[in-house]
Symmetry: C2
Subunit: 197 residues, 2 copies
DNA sequence: TCCGGCATACCGACTGGTTAGTCTGCCGGT
DNA sequence: ACCGGCAGACTAACCAGTCGGTATGCCGGA
Protein backbone atom coordinates (compact mmCIF):
# COMPACT_ATOMS: atom_id res chain seq x y z
CA UNK A 1 0.00 0.00 0.00
CA UNK A 2 2.94 2.34 -0.24
CA UNK A 3 4.40 1.53 -3.64
CA UNK A 4 6.14 4.30 -5.55
CA UNK A 5 3.33 4.57 -8.07
CA UNK A 6 0.40 4.31 -5.73
CA UNK A 7 -2.73 6.06 -6.84
CA UNK A 8 -2.64 8.66 -4.13
CA UNK A 9 0.41 8.41 -1.97
CA UNK A 10 3.20 8.94 -4.48
CA UNK A 11 4.14 12.50 -5.49
CA UNK A 12 1.97 13.95 -8.22
CA UNK A 13 4.64 14.09 -10.97
CA UNK A 14 5.37 10.37 -10.57
CA UNK A 15 1.71 9.52 -10.59
CA UNK A 16 1.27 11.48 -13.79
CA UNK A 17 4.20 9.73 -15.43
CA UNK A 18 2.98 6.31 -14.35
CA UNK A 19 -0.53 6.98 -15.61
CA UNK A 20 0.76 8.39 -18.88
CA UNK A 21 3.06 5.42 -19.42
CA UNK A 22 0.29 2.94 -18.96
CA UNK A 23 -2.19 4.81 -21.11
CA UNK A 24 0.29 5.58 -23.89
CA UNK A 25 1.18 1.89 -24.04
CA UNK A 26 -2.44 0.77 -24.02
CA UNK A 27 -3.93 3.23 -26.47
CA UNK A 28 -1.07 5.02 -28.14
CA UNK A 29 0.08 8.59 -27.64
CA UNK A 30 -2.38 10.31 -29.94
CA UNK A 31 -5.33 8.31 -28.70
CA UNK A 32 -4.68 9.28 -25.11
CA UNK A 33 -6.12 12.62 -24.08
CA UNK A 34 -4.59 14.79 -21.42
CA UNK A 35 -7.91 14.55 -19.64
CA UNK A 36 -7.61 10.78 -19.36
CA UNK A 37 -4.13 11.05 -17.96
CA UNK A 38 -5.03 13.49 -15.23
CA UNK A 39 -8.09 11.48 -14.29
CA UNK A 40 -6.04 8.31 -14.03
CA UNK A 41 -3.57 10.15 -11.84
CA UNK A 42 -6.34 11.59 -9.69
CA UNK A 43 -5.53 15.22 -10.40
CA UNK A 44 -6.54 17.86 -12.95
CA UNK A 45 -4.96 19.66 -15.85
CA UNK A 46 -3.71 22.40 -13.63
CA UNK A 47 -1.43 19.91 -11.90
CA UNK A 48 -0.15 18.41 -15.12
CA UNK A 49 0.73 21.75 -16.66
CA UNK A 50 2.24 22.83 -13.41
CA UNK A 51 4.89 20.12 -13.66
CA UNK A 52 5.14 19.49 -17.39
CA UNK A 53 5.33 21.96 -20.22
CA UNK A 54 3.27 19.91 -22.62
CA UNK A 55 1.87 16.49 -23.36
CA UNK A 56 4.96 15.87 -25.45
CA UNK A 57 7.22 16.55 -22.48
CA UNK A 58 5.49 13.71 -20.71
CA UNK A 59 6.34 11.37 -23.56
CA UNK A 60 9.93 12.53 -23.65
CA UNK A 61 10.28 11.96 -19.94
CA UNK A 62 9.13 8.37 -20.36
CA UNK A 63 11.87 7.91 -22.95
CA UNK A 64 14.54 9.59 -20.91
CA UNK A 65 13.85 7.33 -17.94
CA UNK A 66 14.07 4.07 -19.82
CA UNK A 67 17.12 5.22 -21.77
CA UNK A 68 18.99 6.16 -18.60
CA UNK A 69 18.16 2.84 -17.03
CA UNK A 70 19.25 0.75 -19.97
CA UNK A 71 22.42 2.71 -20.57
CA UNK A 72 23.48 2.25 -16.97
CA UNK A 73 22.91 -1.48 -17.11
CA UNK A 74 24.70 -1.90 -20.42
CA UNK A 75 27.70 0.04 -19.15
CA UNK A 76 27.86 -2.16 -16.08
CA UNK A 77 27.85 -5.37 -18.10
CA UNK A 78 30.24 -4.09 -20.74
CA UNK A 79 32.76 -2.90 -18.15
CA UNK A 80 32.71 -6.15 -16.22
CA UNK A 81 35.81 -8.26 -15.84
CA UNK A 82 35.00 -11.27 -18.00
CA UNK A 83 35.68 -12.70 -21.47
CA UNK A 84 34.02 -10.69 -24.21
CA UNK A 85 31.66 -13.49 -25.18
CA UNK A 86 30.43 -13.59 -21.60
CA UNK A 87 30.00 -9.83 -21.39
CA UNK A 88 28.08 -9.74 -24.66
CA UNK A 89 25.88 -12.63 -23.61
CA UNK A 90 25.10 -10.99 -20.29
CA UNK A 91 24.36 -7.64 -21.87
CA UNK A 92 22.20 -9.19 -24.59
CA UNK A 93 20.21 -11.20 -22.07
CA UNK A 94 19.87 -8.31 -19.65
CA UNK A 95 18.34 -5.96 -22.18
CA UNK A 96 15.74 -8.62 -22.89
CA UNK A 97 14.87 -9.05 -19.24
CA UNK A 98 14.62 -5.35 -18.49
CA UNK A 99 12.63 -4.78 -21.66
CA UNK A 100 10.14 -7.43 -20.62
CA UNK A 101 10.01 -5.95 -17.16
CA UNK A 102 9.07 -2.64 -18.73
CA UNK A 103 7.05 -3.75 -21.71
CA UNK A 104 4.91 -0.62 -21.50
CA UNK A 105 7.91 1.62 -21.91
CA UNK A 106 9.13 -0.56 -24.74
CA UNK A 107 5.91 -0.37 -26.75
CA UNK A 108 5.78 3.36 -26.26
CA UNK A 109 9.39 3.69 -27.24
CA UNK A 110 9.06 1.89 -30.51
CA UNK A 111 5.59 2.91 -31.51
CA UNK A 112 5.54 6.55 -30.51
CA UNK A 113 9.07 7.84 -30.97
CA UNK A 114 8.09 9.47 -34.24
CA UNK A 115 5.46 11.51 -32.44
CA UNK A 116 8.14 13.63 -30.84
CA UNK A 117 8.97 16.95 -32.40
CA UNK A 118 12.13 16.99 -34.55
CA UNK A 119 14.34 18.50 -31.84
CA UNK A 120 13.28 16.10 -29.12
CA UNK A 121 13.45 13.24 -31.54
CA UNK A 122 17.02 14.17 -32.34
CA UNK A 123 17.88 14.29 -28.67
CA UNK A 124 16.49 10.79 -28.16
CA UNK A 125 18.35 9.51 -31.21
CA UNK A 126 21.61 10.80 -29.84
CA UNK A 127 21.13 8.90 -26.59
CA UNK A 128 20.00 5.85 -28.46
CA UNK A 129 23.06 6.02 -30.67
CA UNK A 130 25.36 6.03 -27.67
CA UNK A 131 23.70 2.87 -26.49
CA UNK A 132 23.95 1.26 -29.89
CA UNK A 133 27.63 2.09 -30.17
CA UNK A 134 28.51 0.71 -26.79
CA UNK A 135 26.88 -2.52 -27.78
CA UNK A 136 28.58 -2.53 -31.15
CA UNK A 137 31.96 -2.00 -29.52
CA UNK A 138 31.47 -5.27 -27.67
CA UNK A 139 30.76 -7.11 -30.90
CA UNK A 140 33.75 -5.53 -32.62
CA UNK A 141 36.01 -6.39 -29.74
CA UNK A 142 35.05 -10.03 -30.05
CA UNK A 143 35.48 -9.92 -33.80
CA UNK A 144 38.98 -8.44 -33.52
CA UNK A 145 40.05 -11.00 -30.98
CA UNK A 146 38.75 -13.80 -33.18
CA UNK A 147 36.05 -15.22 -30.90
CA UNK A 148 33.24 -13.89 -33.14
CA UNK A 149 32.78 -14.38 -36.84
CA UNK A 150 33.49 -11.34 -39.00
CA UNK A 151 31.10 -12.48 -41.72
CA UNK A 152 28.56 -9.84 -40.76
CA UNK A 153 29.21 -6.14 -40.06
CA UNK A 154 28.94 -5.37 -36.35
CA UNK A 155 26.32 -2.69 -37.00
CA UNK A 156 24.02 -5.19 -38.57
CA UNK A 157 24.53 -7.62 -35.71
CA UNK A 158 23.40 -4.97 -33.28
CA UNK A 159 20.34 -4.10 -35.34
CA UNK A 160 19.58 -7.79 -35.65
CA UNK A 161 19.55 -8.29 -31.92
CA UNK A 162 17.67 -5.10 -31.14
CA UNK A 163 15.13 -6.02 -33.73
CA UNK A 164 14.23 -9.02 -31.66
CA UNK A 165 14.17 -6.93 -28.48
CA UNK A 166 12.02 -4.31 -30.15
CA UNK A 167 9.69 -7.08 -31.30
CA UNK A 168 9.14 -8.42 -27.79
CA UNK A 169 6.34 -5.98 -27.08
CA UNK A 170 4.45 -7.45 -30.02
CA UNK A 171 4.44 -11.08 -29.04
CA UNK A 172 5.63 -11.61 -25.47
CA UNK A 173 2.90 -12.33 -22.93
CA UNK A 174 3.73 -12.69 -19.25
CA UNK A 175 1.32 -15.60 -19.00
CA UNK A 176 2.93 -17.42 -21.92
CA UNK A 177 4.99 -20.60 -21.63
CA UNK A 178 8.36 -18.88 -21.30
CA UNK A 179 9.63 -16.82 -18.39
CA UNK A 180 11.53 -13.59 -18.94
CA UNK A 181 14.79 -15.25 -18.13
CA UNK A 182 14.12 -18.15 -20.47
CA UNK A 183 13.36 -15.83 -23.35
CA UNK A 184 16.43 -13.78 -22.54
CA UNK A 185 18.66 -16.85 -22.44
CA UNK A 186 17.29 -18.11 -25.73
CA UNK A 187 17.72 -14.80 -27.50
CA UNK A 188 21.22 -14.28 -26.15
CA UNK A 189 22.04 -17.81 -27.17
CA UNK A 190 20.79 -17.21 -30.70
CA UNK A 191 22.97 -14.13 -30.95
CA UNK A 192 26.07 -15.94 -29.72
CA UNK A 193 25.39 -18.92 -31.95
CA UNK A 194 25.06 -16.68 -34.98
CA UNK A 195 28.41 -15.16 -34.05
CA UNK A 196 30.31 -18.45 -33.82
CA UNK A 197 33.23 -18.32 -36.27
CA UNK B 1 4.35 9.01 -67.28
CA UNK B 2 1.85 6.20 -66.99
CA UNK B 3 2.80 4.49 -63.78
CA UNK B 4 0.11 2.78 -61.78
CA UNK B 5 0.19 5.37 -59.04
CA UNK B 6 0.49 8.49 -61.13
CA UNK B 7 -0.92 11.61 -59.62
CA UNK B 8 -3.73 11.95 -62.07
CA UNK B 9 -3.83 9.07 -64.48
CA UNK B 10 -4.36 6.12 -62.13
CA UNK B 11 -7.88 5.27 -60.94
CA UNK B 12 -9.02 7.27 -57.96
CA UNK B 13 -9.12 4.40 -55.43
CA UNK B 14 -5.49 3.52 -56.17
CA UNK B 15 -4.42 7.12 -55.91
CA UNK B 16 -6.13 7.38 -52.54
CA UNK B 17 -4.45 4.23 -51.29
CA UNK B 18 -1.05 5.37 -52.50
CA UNK B 19 -1.43 8.80 -50.91
CA UNK B 20 -2.68 7.29 -47.66
CA UNK B 21 0.18 4.82 -47.54
CA UNK B 22 2.78 7.52 -47.93
CA UNK B 23 1.19 9.89 -45.46
CA UNK B 24 0.48 7.22 -42.84
CA UNK B 25 4.11 6.14 -43.03
CA UNK B 26 5.42 9.70 -42.82
CA UNK B 27 3.19 11.11 -40.11
CA UNK B 28 1.38 8.17 -38.59
CA UNK B 29 -2.27 7.27 -38.91
CA UNK B 30 -3.67 9.60 -36.29
CA UNK B 31 -1.61 12.54 -37.46
CA UNK B 32 -2.86 12.25 -40.99
CA UNK B 33 -6.17 13.94 -41.66
CA UNK B 34 -8.60 12.73 -44.27
CA UNK B 35 -8.32 16.18 -45.80
CA UNK B 36 -4.59 15.71 -46.36
CA UNK B 37 -5.13 12.36 -48.02
CA UNK B 38 -7.70 13.60 -50.47
CA UNK B 39 -5.60 16.64 -51.30
CA UNK B 40 -2.55 14.46 -51.96
CA UNK B 41 -4.66 12.27 -54.20
CA UNK B 42 -6.08 15.29 -55.99
CA UNK B 43 -9.70 14.58 -55.09
CA UNK B 44 -12.10 15.53 -52.31
CA UNK B 45 -13.75 13.85 -49.39
CA UNK B 46 -16.73 12.89 -51.48
CA UNK B 47 -14.52 10.65 -53.60
CA UNK B 48 -12.89 9.00 -50.63
CA UNK B 49 -16.13 8.16 -48.90
CA UNK B 50 -17.52 6.99 -52.18
CA UNK B 51 -14.92 4.20 -52.38
CA UNK B 52 -14.08 3.58 -48.72
CA UNK B 53 -16.34 3.27 -45.75
CA UNK B 54 -14.03 5.04 -43.35
CA UNK B 55 -10.52 6.21 -42.74
CA UNK B 56 -9.91 2.95 -40.97
CA UNK B 57 -10.90 0.97 -44.06
CA UNK B 58 -8.10 2.70 -45.88
CA UNK B 59 -5.63 1.50 -43.27
CA UNK B 60 -6.99 -2.02 -43.39
CA UNK B 61 -6.67 -2.09 -47.14
CA UNK B 62 -3.00 -1.18 -46.89
CA UNK B 63 -2.52 -4.13 -44.56
CA UNK B 64 -4.49 -6.54 -46.68
CA UNK B 65 -2.39 -5.74 -49.73
CA UNK B 66 0.97 -6.28 -48.10
CA UNK B 67 -0.23 -9.42 -46.33
CA UNK B 68 -1.48 -10.97 -49.55
CA UNK B 69 1.79 -10.19 -51.28
CA UNK B 70 4.00 -11.64 -48.57
CA UNK B 71 1.91 -14.74 -48.07
CA UNK B 72 2.06 -15.55 -51.78
CA UNK B 73 5.80 -15.18 -51.86
CA UNK B 74 6.37 -17.23 -48.73
CA UNK B 75 4.19 -20.04 -50.08
CA UNK B 76 6.16 -20.07 -53.31
CA UNK B 77 9.50 -20.35 -51.54
CA UNK B 78 8.29 -22.88 -49.00
CA UNK B 79 6.80 -25.13 -51.66
CA UNK B 80 9.90 -25.09 -53.83
CA UNK B 81 11.81 -28.24 -54.57
CA UNK B 82 15.01 -27.74 -52.61
CA UNK B 83 16.63 -28.76 -49.32
CA UNK B 84 14.91 -27.24 -46.32
CA UNK B 85 17.90 -25.10 -45.39
CA UNK B 86 17.81 -23.59 -48.87
CA UNK B 87 14.07 -22.96 -48.75
CA UNK B 88 14.32 -21.31 -45.36
CA UNK B 89 17.23 -19.18 -46.45
CA UNK B 90 15.40 -18.07 -49.58
CA UNK B 91 12.22 -17.29 -47.70
CA UNK B 92 14.06 -15.42 -44.96
CA UNK B 93 16.00 -13.34 -47.47
CA UNK B 94 12.97 -12.66 -49.63
CA UNK B 95 10.89 -11.24 -46.84
CA UNK B 96 13.73 -8.82 -46.12
CA UNK B 97 13.95 -7.69 -49.73
CA UNK B 98 10.22 -7.20 -50.15
CA UNK B 99 9.99 -5.44 -46.82
CA UNK B 100 12.68 -3.00 -47.86
CA UNK B 101 10.97 -2.52 -51.19
CA UNK B 102 7.82 -1.54 -49.31
CA UNK B 103 9.26 0.18 -46.27
CA UNK B 104 6.25 2.49 -46.07
CA UNK B 105 3.88 -0.42 -45.73
CA UNK B 106 6.18 -1.98 -43.18
CA UNK B 107 6.31 1.07 -40.92
CA UNK B 108 2.56 1.42 -41.11
CA UNK B 109 2.11 -2.22 -40.38
CA UNK B 110 4.15 -2.25 -37.25
CA UNK B 111 3.39 1.19 -35.92
CA UNK B 112 -0.30 1.51 -36.67
CA UNK B 113 -1.75 -1.97 -36.39
CA UNK B 114 -3.10 -1.19 -32.94
CA UNK B 115 -5.13 1.67 -34.40
CA UNK B 116 -7.48 -0.78 -36.03
CA UNK B 117 -10.74 -1.58 -34.31
CA UNK B 118 -10.80 -4.88 -32.41
CA UNK B 119 -12.60 -6.82 -35.15
CA UNK B 120 -10.35 -5.65 -37.94
CA UNK B 121 -7.34 -6.16 -35.76
CA UNK B 122 -8.41 -9.72 -35.17
CA UNK B 123 -8.79 -10.29 -38.86
CA UNK B 124 -5.27 -9.04 -39.52
CA UNK B 125 -3.89 -11.18 -36.71
CA UNK B 126 -5.44 -14.27 -38.23
CA UNK B 127 -3.73 -13.65 -41.56
CA UNK B 128 -0.52 -12.81 -39.84
CA UNK B 129 -0.69 -15.99 -37.84
CA UNK B 130 -1.03 -18.06 -40.99
CA UNK B 131 2.13 -16.48 -42.27
CA UNK B 132 3.95 -17.06 -39.02
CA UNK B 133 2.96 -20.73 -38.94
CA UNK B 134 4.03 -21.38 -42.47
CA UNK B 135 7.42 -20.01 -41.62
CA UNK B 136 7.59 -21.97 -38.39
CA UNK B 137 6.76 -25.17 -40.23
CA UNK B 138 9.91 -24.68 -42.27
CA UNK B 139 12.01 -24.33 -39.16
CA UNK B 140 10.41 -27.36 -37.55
CA UNK B 141 10.94 -29.43 -40.64
CA UNK B 142 14.64 -28.66 -40.55
CA UNK B 143 14.77 -29.38 -36.85
CA UNK B 144 13.10 -32.76 -37.26
CA UNK B 145 15.41 -33.76 -40.07
CA UNK B 146 18.40 -32.76 -37.99
CA UNK B 147 19.83 -29.99 -40.17
CA UNK B 148 18.80 -27.29 -37.64
CA UNK B 149 19.58 -27.14 -33.95
CA UNK B 150 16.68 -27.86 -31.63
CA UNK B 151 18.14 -25.76 -28.84
CA UNK B 152 15.56 -23.02 -29.40
CA UNK B 153 11.80 -23.44 -29.86
CA UNK B 154 10.76 -22.84 -33.46
CA UNK B 155 8.28 -20.16 -32.41
CA UNK B 156 11.02 -18.12 -30.86
CA UNK B 157 13.19 -18.53 -33.94
CA UNK B 158 10.43 -17.08 -36.07
CA UNK B 159 9.90 -14.15 -33.73
CA UNK B 160 13.62 -13.60 -33.67
CA UNK B 161 13.86 -13.31 -37.41
CA UNK B 162 10.72 -11.21 -37.79
CA UNK B 163 11.95 -8.93 -35.11
CA UNK B 164 14.85 -8.02 -37.33
CA UNK B 165 12.54 -7.62 -40.33
CA UNK B 166 10.18 -5.48 -38.31
CA UNK B 167 13.14 -3.37 -37.20
CA UNK B 168 14.25 -2.61 -40.75
CA UNK B 169 11.93 0.35 -41.06
CA UNK B 170 13.69 1.92 -38.12
CA UNK B 171 17.24 1.82 -39.38
CA UNK B 172 17.44 0.88 -43.04
CA UNK B 173 18.13 3.77 -45.40
CA UNK B 174 18.17 3.21 -49.16
CA UNK B 175 21.17 5.51 -49.46
CA UNK B 176 23.11 3.59 -46.83
CA UNK B 177 26.15 1.39 -47.51
CA UNK B 178 24.22 -1.85 -47.95
CA UNK B 179 21.88 -2.77 -50.78
CA UNK B 180 18.62 -4.57 -50.11
CA UNK B 181 20.04 -7.83 -51.31
CA UNK B 182 23.13 -7.47 -49.15
CA UNK B 183 21.07 -6.84 -46.04
CA UNK B 184 18.80 -9.73 -46.93
CA UNK B 185 21.74 -12.09 -47.43
CA UNK B 186 23.31 -11.04 -44.15
CA UNK B 187 20.11 -11.45 -42.16
CA UNK B 188 19.29 -14.81 -43.73
CA UNK B 189 22.86 -15.87 -43.04
CA UNK B 190 22.58 -14.87 -39.39
CA UNK B 191 19.41 -16.93 -39.06
CA UNK B 192 20.97 -19.99 -40.66
CA UNK B 193 24.14 -19.62 -38.63
CA UNK B 194 22.13 -19.43 -35.42
CA UNK B 195 20.37 -22.62 -36.46
CA UNK B 196 23.54 -24.65 -37.09
CA UNK B 197 23.46 -27.73 -34.87
C1' DT C 1 -31.59 9.49 -84.26
C1' DC C 2 -33.02 11.53 -80.32
C1' DC C 3 -34.61 11.62 -75.64
C1' DG C 4 -35.83 10.68 -70.93
C1' DG C 5 -34.49 8.02 -66.95
C1' DC C 6 -31.15 6.52 -64.05
C1' DA C 7 -26.66 5.15 -62.01
C1' DT C 8 -22.05 6.15 -61.06
C1' DA C 9 -18.52 9.37 -59.78
C1' DC C 10 -17.46 13.09 -57.50
C1' DC C 11 -17.77 17.93 -55.05
C1' DG C 12 -17.43 20.84 -50.86
C1' DA C 13 -19.91 23.23 -47.20
C1' DC C 14 -21.42 21.89 -42.86
C1' DT C 15 -22.01 19.57 -38.14
C1' DG C 16 -21.21 17.69 -33.79
C1' DG C 17 -17.79 16.47 -31.06
C1' DT C 18 -13.08 16.41 -29.25
C1' DT C 19 -8.62 18.32 -27.82
C1' DA C 20 -4.28 20.70 -26.07
C1' DG C 21 -3.29 24.27 -23.61
C1' DT C 22 -4.56 28.78 -20.80
C1' DC C 23 -6.07 31.45 -17.05
C1' DT C 24 -8.07 32.97 -13.00
C1' DG C 25 -8.46 32.00 -8.45
C1' DC C 26 -8.66 29.17 -4.13
C1' DC C 27 -6.36 26.87 -0.21
C1' DG C 28 -3.28 25.41 3.19
C1' DG C 29 1.20 25.70 5.02
C1' DT C 30 5.05 28.73 6.62
C1' DA D 1 0.75 37.70 4.03
C1' DC D 2 2.66 35.19 0.72
C1' DC D 3 3.49 31.48 -2.42
C1' DG D 4 3.77 26.85 -4.35
C1' DG D 5 0.48 23.58 -5.73
C1' DC D 6 -3.42 22.72 -7.75
C1' DA D 7 -8.66 23.16 -9.44
C1' DG D 8 -11.66 23.48 -13.30
C1' DA D 9 -14.02 26.41 -16.59
C1' DC D 10 -12.83 28.19 -20.93
C1' DT D 11 -11.02 28.90 -25.80
C1' DA D 12 -9.53 28.31 -30.31
C1' DA D 13 -8.50 24.93 -33.45
C1' DC D 14 -9.28 20.78 -35.72
C1' DC D 15 -11.30 16.66 -37.63
C1' DA D 16 -14.15 12.46 -39.30
C1' DG D 17 -17.95 11.80 -41.45
C1' DT D 18 -22.54 13.56 -43.75
C1' DC D 19 -25.39 15.24 -47.19
C1' DG D 20 -27.51 17.76 -50.75
C1' DG D 21 -26.06 18.76 -55.10
C1' DT D 22 -23.75 18.44 -59.96
C1' DA D 23 -21.72 16.25 -64.09
C1' DT D 24 -21.10 12.53 -67.13
C1' DG D 25 -22.35 8.62 -69.71
C1' DC D 26 -25.11 4.53 -70.72
C1' DC D 27 -29.41 2.20 -72.21
C1' DG D 28 -33.83 1.19 -73.99
C1' DG D 29 -37.84 2.92 -76.37
C1' DA D 30 -40.20 5.86 -79.85
Amino acid sequence: MAKATDGDTAPVPQRLLAAATRLFAEQGYDRTSVQEIVEAAGVTKGALYHYFGSKEDLLQEVYARVLRLQQERLDAFADADAPVEQRLRDAAADVVVTTIENLDDASIFFRSMHHLSPEKNKQVRVERRRYHERFRALVEEGQRSGVFSTATPADLIVDYHFGSVHHLSTWYRPDGPLSRQEVADHLADLLLRALRP
